[in-house]
């Protein structure tokens, strides 16, 4: 792992941890390589939630288990973290929260009494922000601007008090420092801080998404909120549907009429959408589906993370029809692949799924800006002629897609098997032709395959394969391991799988697949579709992501 330093804030729901995280990461992100991740309980108040802010000498995007500075924000904030505290951990807390059994070095931080002069305990968080900003020696002007922007809707008195609280917290941190190696690291380029949700949302906007209908379900809802906040400025019609079934059917209606729509949901909600997915398949109506995975079955662990729905996405929907599934592992890819999802859905008239998870969506990353591609906004909608046939059979399996009211033709689509015109038929020959027409699109889809990325030495003999949110984890391992015989293959398009992956695997005498699930779902697909022999699966399905330390130790056990 990279030389890094983890600050963990431990409190409970409703205490403002998220605001604190955003303020710290927004300011620290301008001066450090930084990454943050959170783990939360499924409750609105109480419990124990934590935020980790990881500073490093190199860019990092993985969770570190060992805590360097721990801030306890209530009297039950320590217990769940005791295995992550070591003898040099500094544990900051109100005196009354200490129970005496804590490991590490105790550091009394009387935030409540410090807040007394401002007349309200609400200033505790800003005091703490000041304290941490002081430790990190952050530019105070940047921090003050962030505070002012954050509280802009509140009274001038409250803003002034917050700024004073920040100063006070900052002064109180004197004498507490970071290790020299971390402190001296500065990165030259301006990074944008964003989480996986925002990256996916930006991708939707860049892909021309102008319609979203969804039903709230963690951890997918933040994308609906993102598009809702930008709906007015970007002409996105946002509708909270009465259920997931309505959501996907509305979105299919929107595409049919010429919009570019999407749904965002999690495994359970997607299960309800399966018949709609099948409808997209037979009517060849494009649709983009964001599936934010969390542990199942059923309600599972609503606020935790897992990669357990790959098979669901691959096999969802009755009948046989093509689909595309992307699993982005870092924000730039989430943006580009989501943008591309709208383009490919339109181009091939198929459902395209973006498979993310809670860990990816809720973690904050640094990303360098890049120019957006114009091509994905190209529309494939055709102006119809009087003799227009929606499902015209020809050499090409993709028939031109008209929309109602544009041109002289009529656009007839049916969930029953249909003729070229879109009329119900039970002609067996037509049925077979139409089924072939739909399935033949898969070979074209593979021509647009989003290539896997190889990271590490090209002359590797051990290959680690991962998809989605484990990207940052495996990348960090490859960047820091002493071994020169290991490479990482990041598979971003998990369906359909391209034969080129077989060549990557063939070179290795050991192929390891890393997944946050119990049954090795990608490993299974690699075997089934490409006959790739996976020698080892490294799996975790507790509901938590792998930590970098845990991953290193698991690898050590299996790497030959």
């Amino acid at each position: 792992m990279h030389n890094s330093f983890a600050i963990v804030l431990s409190g409970e729901a409703g205490q403002g941890l998220q605001t604190l995280e955003e303020l710290i990461i927004a300011s620290a992100g301008r001066e450090y390589y930084v990454y943050s991740t959170k783990e939360i309980m499924s409750r609105v108040r109480g419990g124990n939630n934590t935020v980790e802010i990881r500073l490093a000498t190199k860019p990092v995007a993985a969770y570190q288990e060992a805590i360097d500075y721990l801030f306890l924000l209530n009297d039950h904030a320590y217990d769940r973290l005791k295995d992550r505290v070591h003898e040099n951990t500094l544990v900051f807390s109100e005196e009354s929260y200490f129970k005496g059994s804590e490991q590490g070095l105790k550091q009394i931080l009387p935030l409540k009494s410090m807040a007394g002069e401002f007349g309200s305990p609400i200033y505790v968080n800003t005091l703490l922000f000041g304290y941490i900003a002081g430790i990190l020696n952050l530019n105070p002007e940047t921090c003050r601007q962030l505070i002012t922007a954050r509280f802009e809707n509140l009274s001038p008195e409250i803003i002034t008090n917050n700024l004073k609280a920040f100063e006070k917290g900052s002064r109180a941190s004197e004498g507490i420092n970071l290790p020299e190696a971390i402190k001296k690291t500065s990165h030259p380029r301006p990074y944008k801080i964003l989480n996986g949700t925002t990256a996916t949302g930006l991708g939707a906007l860049a892909g021309g998404c102008n319609f979203i209908s969804s039903y709230p379900m963690s951890p997918s809802t933040a994308l609906l909120v993102f598009l809702s906040n930008h709906g007015r400025d970007f002409d996105v019609l946002v509708e909270q549907a009465e259920d997931e079934i309505a959501a996907i059917n509305m979105t299919l209606g929107a595409w049919y009429a010429g919009a570019r729509g999407m749904v965002t949901t999690s495994g359970g909600g997607f299960a309800l959408m399966e018949e709609g997915l099948s409808l997209s398949g037979i009517t060849e109506t494009p649709v983009v589906i964001h599936i934010a995975q969390r542990p199942g079955p059923a309600t599972g662990l609503p606020t935790r993370t897992e990669q357990g729905d790959l098979n669901l996405a691959v096999y969802a929907g009755h009948g046989e029809f093509p689909r595309i599934i992307f699993a982005p592992g870092y924000p730039e890819d989430a943006l580009k692949l989501t943008q591309k999802a709208f383009y490919l859905a339109d181009k091939y008239q198929v459902p395209v799924m973006i498979l993310t998870d809670q860990y990816f969506l809720d973690s904050n990353y640094q990303m360098l800006s890049f120019p957006l591609e114009e091509e994905p906004l190209e529309s494939f909608v055709t102006e119809t002629q009087r003799d227009y046939l929606r499902y015209k059979l020809g050499d090409h399996p993709v028939s031109r897609r008209g929309i109602p009211g544009y041109g002289k033709g009529l656009v007839k689509v049916d969930s029953d098997e249909h003729t070229e015109e879109g009329l119900i038929t039970e002609d067996f020959e037509v049925r077979q032709l139409m089924n072939d027409k739909r399935l033949d699109k898969e070979s074209l889809i593979l021509e647009d395959y989003q290539s896997a990325e190889l990271i590490g030495p090209e002359d590797y003999s051990k290959l680690i394969i991962a998809w989605g949110s484990n990207y940052g984890l495996v990348r960090e391992y490859i960047e820091t391991t002493d071994r020169r015989d290991i490479a990482f293959l990041y598979v971003k398009q998990v369906y359909p799988l391209h034969a080129s992956l077989r060549d990557f695997a063939r070179q290795a005498d050991q192929v390891l697949v890393v997944e946050n699930n119990a049954t090795g779902q990608l490993a299974g697909l690699l075997k089934l579709h490409l006959d790739i022999e996976v020698t080892d699966s490294i799996l975790k399905y507790t509901g938590e992501p792998f930590s970098i330390e845990e991953f290193e130790s698991l690898l050590k056990e299996v790497l030959k």
């Binding site: 299919l252 009429a257 009211g405 009529l410």
Partner: protein, 283 residues
């Protein structure tokens, strides 16, 4: 051949004598009397005998999944309000499988017409009880008689604030046509529950039965009186026919949608400004 009409040799998959034929005739008359362009009309439907209607009208259509005709219709109208959108299906499709969409789209008040063929039985699946089957009806599943109270679509619609609520009878094509025209031209969600006989599976609620157990609201009925409409919706045997309720005071879903507040251009004709996305990306 009139607009919306099909080649007369088209094989229509309904039973001979089915009320669907009369409803189809009335619908095509209504569309033509309104001088609508088939290219600017979209029909949506789910599954069932009634839901096959779009197949037999020469216009744009999306015949989707069982119960899901309404979500399609609402979204089509929302992204392109210049289209005339009609959702059509049967009592099982719209009140059973699609019941949640029925409830919540009344609340949305999209500017669509909603035609529901109500024959109090499942036809396509061959004679099971429907949400509107009367208690005691003997059929292929409820072999000792239906025990659940029938769904009352008109009372539900009036109570949820539907802006147009009517009941018609397939046996009276001129009146059905008139009510359909009023529903299509109504600004907002317009429900027409259409009584029809099922000649194959419902031997009780026959053509004659409907004639004997319904009556037309007289000219003096004030359709803006919501409480009166509610009382009428609860009337059974005889069942009132006509426009029970209509109000023009409520904005439609499309009018209320944020995307149409400053710009009335249909959503599908607007282009995404990639520079604006880049600006947000770099913010």
């Amino acid at each position: 051949m009139k607009p919306f009409e099909l080649n007369p040799n088209t094989d229509i998959a309904w039973c001979p004598g089915c009320g669907d034929f009369s409803i189809r005739k009335a619908l095509i008359m209504a569309l033509n009397e309104l001088a609508l362009d088939p290219g600017q009309v979209v029909m949506t439907s789910g599954i069932g005998q009634a839901a096959k209607m779009p197949q037999y009208v020469d216009t744009n259509f999306f015949n989707g999944l069982h119960g899901r005709g309404l979500p399609l219709a609402v979204a089509i109208k929302a992204v392109n309000p210049s289209l005339t959108v009609i959702a059509e299906g049967g009592d099982g499709d719209m009140y059973g499988e699609g019941g949640n969409h029925f409830i919540h789209n009344i609340r949305r008040n999209p500017d669509i017409a909603h035609f529901v063929h109500n024959n109090m039985i499942y036809g396509l699946t061959q004679g099971q009880g429907s949400p509107t089957s009367p208690v005691g009806q003997l059929n292929t599943v409820q072999v000792e008689g239906v025990i659940n109270e029938p769904f009352n679509p008109l009372a539900v619609a009036v109570s949820l604030g539907a802006t147009f609520v009517a009941r018609a009878f397939s046996g009276d094509i001129p009146t059905l046509t008139r009510i359909m025209k009023a529903a299509i031209t109504h600004k907002g969600y317009a429900l027409v529950d259409i009584f029809q006989p099922c000649v194959s599976f419902n031997k009780v609620n026959t053509f004659k039965w409907y004639q004997e157990h319904t009556y037309y609201l007289d000219e003096g009925h004030d359709p803006t009186d919501r409480m009166k409409a509610m009382a009428l919706a609860f009337e059974t045997d005889p069942y009132p026919l006509g426009i029970l309720y209509q109000t023009k005071d409520r904005s439609t879903y499309e009018e209320k949608a944020v995307v149409y507040q400053e710009d009335k251009t249909p959503l599908i004709h607007r282009r995404r400004d990639l520079k604006a996305v880049e600006k947000l990306l770099n913010a």
